[in-house]
Every structure is written in structure tokens, then in C-alpha cells.
């Protein structure tokens, strides 16, 4: 396995892009990434794209070919990968594997979703495809309901409170104020969250990530090539993925996501790092409870302590382990197929010292955590600055 690094990144703003189409978003992010990497389009050998439900959202499939065409990169091979909300993370991981294997030297990775062109009900049904349609969504479960079932179990087993979950949203909104790409660049209070009304008890509207349009792209290369073409590349030290049952009711435990635990264990083993070595993390806070689960399952806090940790500011910028400096899915926005790639971009910027007012001081190691559905897929990556 060869060492692999990120050499360029491109991101659209996240939000409601009524004026831009799916293909314009992907082209905007992709072209930026190629320019940022300082390579020519002709040097790119393959494309890996992540999109979850473009067929349901805009009636378009065959996204691999669409991306290659829009970026003017025909005839190189281009493929779209789907793993629900982890589509972007899975696309990045497969691109990483292709470069690590020696098959390619320079590869483009994209993630995209255009979610605002359908009604909220239709968006809900499209996103429901991330769960078990036949046995759980069919019975009336929604995605907020699935995470609410996890939240209730965590509250009853560990005493986690609704205010602690609200603290996740408050922190992530505060971080998003300093992220020019974020959908919601405004602070909210615990009271705002508590008063926002139940979607699926105990989860309220402001515990939920929004419906978002956006695209993200990175260029990755073998680290030997990266050192030649890039001033300060960011190495992907590990990219690990794990699977679990599609149906939430079939999980071994409702207070953890086993796929996260398996993926991060492998990532720590591969890198020789421990949770305490990580300087910052972008985690999958599709619902606030999932950031609490993630900070425990990734090993930053003991099981059951995640709620208290966020309440005490341990995951805030300047805290013990800053989590979701970008604003996370909650406030940066969650264009599902783009999220995994956008998380990698935050890590890339943080490790290059380019995160401006949300910069984590002296960051050396970063981690990203991307979840599909209610935890049937998890991708965990670890990154570091590449010393030349």
C-alpha cells in the first residue's frame, strides 16, 4: 500500500441553491479542486463520485459519467458510489484504495446532492431509502424517529438529557458562524432548541440537520507525487469502513453504532494512534444524538459521558477535542452525498492551517467520521500534515 495525500479541495457554499443545478454544483466544486491542486485535468486518471439519491431528487442517475463530462475529463473512468449519507466517504475511500494500490497516481473525488427540488415529504421518502424500507420505514418510522429511538435508549441508560443534545446544536451553530461555506451562520441558544418542537420525541427540529444543496471535491495523489506538485499536502493515514444491519431494531446495542467502533478500531490499529492523539474531528451529527454517540464510539469519551462532555465545552473550539469546527452537518448543512467529502476538506484545511477563525491550534492529526443511514455504514479516516 502506497501513502496517499489530498492535494486540492473545492467546495460550493451549502444551502438552498435554487439558481444552480446538480451539474453546476459538481462542476463548480470539481474545477476549484483541480485548480487548487495545481494539476491539469489531463493528469487526472479516474473519478470517484458520491451521491445518495439523485434519482429520487432530480431524476438523474449515471452520475459517474455526468461528472466526467461536466469537468471535461472524458474519457477517463468515472464511477458513482452510494452508501446513503456515507456516499461521499465511501467514494473517497475507494479513490484512496485505487491510489494506494498503485493503479493510479492522481484521482478526483466528488460528492454532491441537490435536495431542495422536491417537497419535504418526497425528500423524506428519498432519505428513508437509507434505512430498511420493507420492515421499518414501511411501518411508519422516519429518520428522525430512528435516531430518536437511539436517543431515548441513551437517555435512559446514561442519564443523557435533552439539554445536552441541544448543546451539540448550539456548539455547531457557533462554529458555523466562522465558516463561509455553512448553511446556517448564526448562533442559537439551548432555549431555541428546547422550544423548537418535537419532530420525533425526544428529538426536536433544531436537533436535526437540514435539507441542503451542495457539492465537495478533492484531488488525491500518491504522496510521492503529492510532494512534487503540492506545497503542503495532507496525508490520509487510514481510511476504514464497516457495515451493520440496515434495520435499527436488529442492532446489538441501541446506545452505540457498532460500525463506527469497528472502523475506528481498524483506523487506530493501522496508524498506531490512540483517540487522545487526535487533535480535532469532524463527526456525523445528522442528529445531535449522533455526535454524542460518535464522540464516545470514537474513543474520545467513555460510553455514557458524551452528553456531559459537550455540555462542559470539551468538544468546543479550544476544548479538549474540538468536534465539528466546520459547523457539522447540523449547521454547515448536509447535502448527503457531499458530506463525507466536505468533512475531508475541513480536515485538509485545518491541517494546512487554513481554517481561519475556526483554526485548531497546532493541529497535527485529524479524524473524520461519516455514517450511512442509522449506522449501517461507517467510514473513519485519519489525516496528518505531510512533512516534505
Amino acid at each position: 500500500m502506497r501513502s496517499v495525500s489530498i492535494i486540492g479541495a473545492g467546495l460550493t457554499t451549502f444551502g438552498e441553491h435554487w439558481e444552480k443545478s446538480f451539474r453546476e454544483l459538481i462542476a463548480e466544486a470539481g474545477i476549484q479542486a483541480i485548480q487548487d491542486a495545481g494539476v491539469s485535468g489531463g493528469q487526472i486518471e479516474a473519478i470517484y463520485g458520491g451521491a445518495m439519491a439523485s434519482g429520487r431528487f432530480i431524476g438523474q442517475e449515471h452520475i459517474g459519467a455526468l461528472i466526467a463530462d461536466q469537468l471535461g475529463l472524458n474519457p477517463i473512468p468515472s464511477v458513482r458510489l452510494e452508501a446513503a449519507c456515507a456516499s461521499g466517504g465511501v467514494a473517497l475511500r475507494n479513490a484512496y484504495l485505487a491510489v494506494a494500490s498503485g493503479m493510479y497516481d492522481i484521482v478526483a473525488v466528488g460528492g454532491v446532492e441537490k435536495m431542495t427540488e422536491v417537497s419535504t415529504e418526497d425528500a423524506g421518502f428519498a432519505l428513508g431509502g437509507a434505512g430498511d424500507q420493507e420492515t421499518e420505514l414501511f411501518m411508519g418510522a422516519t429518520f428522525p424517529a430512528l435516531y430518536a429511538l437511539l436517543a431515548r435508549a441513551h437517555m435512559e441508560e446514561f442519564g443523557t438529557t435533552e439539554e445536552q443534545m441541544a448543546a451539540v446544536a448550539v456548539k455547531n451553530h457557533k462554529n458555523a458562524v466562522n465558516n463561509p461555506f455553512a448553511q446556517y451562520r448564526r448562533e442559537i441558544t439551548i432555549e431555541d432548541v428546547m422550544k423548537s418542537g418535537y419532530v420525533a420525541s425526544p428529538l426536536k427540529l433544531l436537533d436535526c440537520s437540514p435539507i441542503t444543496d451542495g457539492a465537495a471535491a478533492v484531488i488525491i495523489a500518491s504522496s510521492d507525487v503529492a510532494k512534487k506538485v503540492c506545497e503542503n499536502p495532507v496525508e490520509i493515514l487510514a481510511s476504514e469502513q464497516a457495515s451493520d444491519s440496515l434495520a435499527l431494531s436488529k442492532r446489538k446495542s441501541l446506545t452505540e453504532l457498532d460500525a463506527t467502533k469497528v472502523a475506528v478500531k481498524q483506523a487506530y490499529e493501522r496508524t498506531g494512534l490512540k483517540a487522545k492523539d487526535i487533535d480535532f474531528a469532524e463527526v456525523h451529527d445528522c442528529f445531535t444524538i449522533n455526535e454524542i454517540l460518535a464522540t464516545e464510539d470514537l474513543g474520545f469519551f467513555k460510553k455514557g459521558e458524551g452528553g456531559k462532555a459537550v455540555e462542559k465545552g470539551k468538544t468546543a473550539l479550544g476544548g479538549e477535542i474540538p468536534v465539528n469546527t466546520s459547523g457539522g452537518l447540523k449547521a454547515k448543512g448536509h447535502p448527503v452525498g457531499a458530506t463525507g467529502v466536505a468533512q475531508a476538506i475541513e480536515a485538509y484545511w485545518q491541517l494546512r492551517g487554513a481554517a481561519d477563525k475556526r483554526q485548531v491550534k497546532d493541529a497535527e492529526y485529524g479524524l473524520t467520521h461519516n455514517v450511512g443511514g442509522s449506522g449501517a455504514t461507517a467510514v473513519v479516516n485519519i489525516y496528518r500534515r505531510l512533512e516534505k
Partner: protein, 134 residues
């Protein structure tokens, strides 16, 4: 919405009407819905038909205030993860139950109900829901 497509509903009648699942005779684990392979034993497994018990208890629950297509008119409604007496877990709606009695650990029993009629021109879907007993 494709959940109202007749064969999709028809194929699931035994499962949704009578909680028909199966059991691996090698390791003794019950499965609902029925599986084609036992994840514990894989090719050493021997799966035989088994009906699930009708009773169980609530493991976790939520009250949905925003319903998906086909459930808009039912909000707010309860959804729970239920552990049946043979340890099999499934997700279902709770109906005909006193709201105050909806809590983790409460005993529930299977009832047969309409699930939804999302597709106005197609068949109505029926299946299991649960109600609190005792």
C-alpha cells in the same frame, strides 16, 4: 411511493399478517423477518420456519409528530422497538394504548391493523402493530 405495489405487499403477507419468521436449529437463534442464511452459522446453519410470539416489551420508543407520506393523518403516533418473548426485536407502531403507559419495559401484544393507504389507486397495506397490555 412504491410500497403499495401489489406483489411487494402480497409477498409479505405471511410475515406481516402472522409474524412468520424462522429459526436456526444449529445455534438456536430466531429471525424475523425470515433469513435465507443464519449470520452466526452461515453454511452450517439449518433454518426452519417459526412463528414469532405475539407478546413482548418496549425497548425504546418515540412519538412522531411529522409523518412520512401515507402517515400524515396519523400524527402524532408512537413507534417503538419491541423485544418479543424469544428475544427477536422489531420496529412497529404502538396503537390503542394509553399515552401515559408508553414507556420502556411496558408489555405489548401484537394486533392486526391497516398500515397505510399511501397509494390511493392501489391496494391497502395491512400488517402488525402493537398495543400495551396490563
Amino acid at each position: 411511493m412504491t410500497t403499495g405495489f401489489p406483489p411487494l405487499l402480497w409477498r409479505r403477507f405471511p410475515e406481516r399478517y402472522t409474524l412468520a419468521g424462522n429459526k436456526c436449529e444449529t445455534c438456536g437463534t430466531s429471525y424475523f423477518p425470515a433469513r435465507k442464511v443464519c449470520p452466526n452459522c452461515r453454511r452450517r446453519g439449518k433454518l426452519v420456519d417459526e412463528s414469532m410470539p405475539r407478546k413482548g416489551k418496549i425497548v425504546s420508543w418515540t412519538q412522531c409528530f411529522v409523518g412520512p407520506t401515507g402517515f400524515e393523518h396519523e400524527t402524532p403516533y408512537f413507534v417503538a422497538i419491541i423485544e418479543l418473548e424469544n428475544k427477536v426485536r422489531l420496529l412497529a407502531q404502538l396503537v390503542d394504548s394509553d399515552e401515559k403507559k408508553v414507556k420502556t419495559g411496558a408489555c405489548v401484544e401484537k394486533v392486526f391493523r391497516k398500515i397505510n393507504d399511501a397509494d390511493k389507486s392501489g391496494p391497502i397495506a395491512y400488517g402488525y402493530k402493537f398495543k400495551i397490555v396490563g
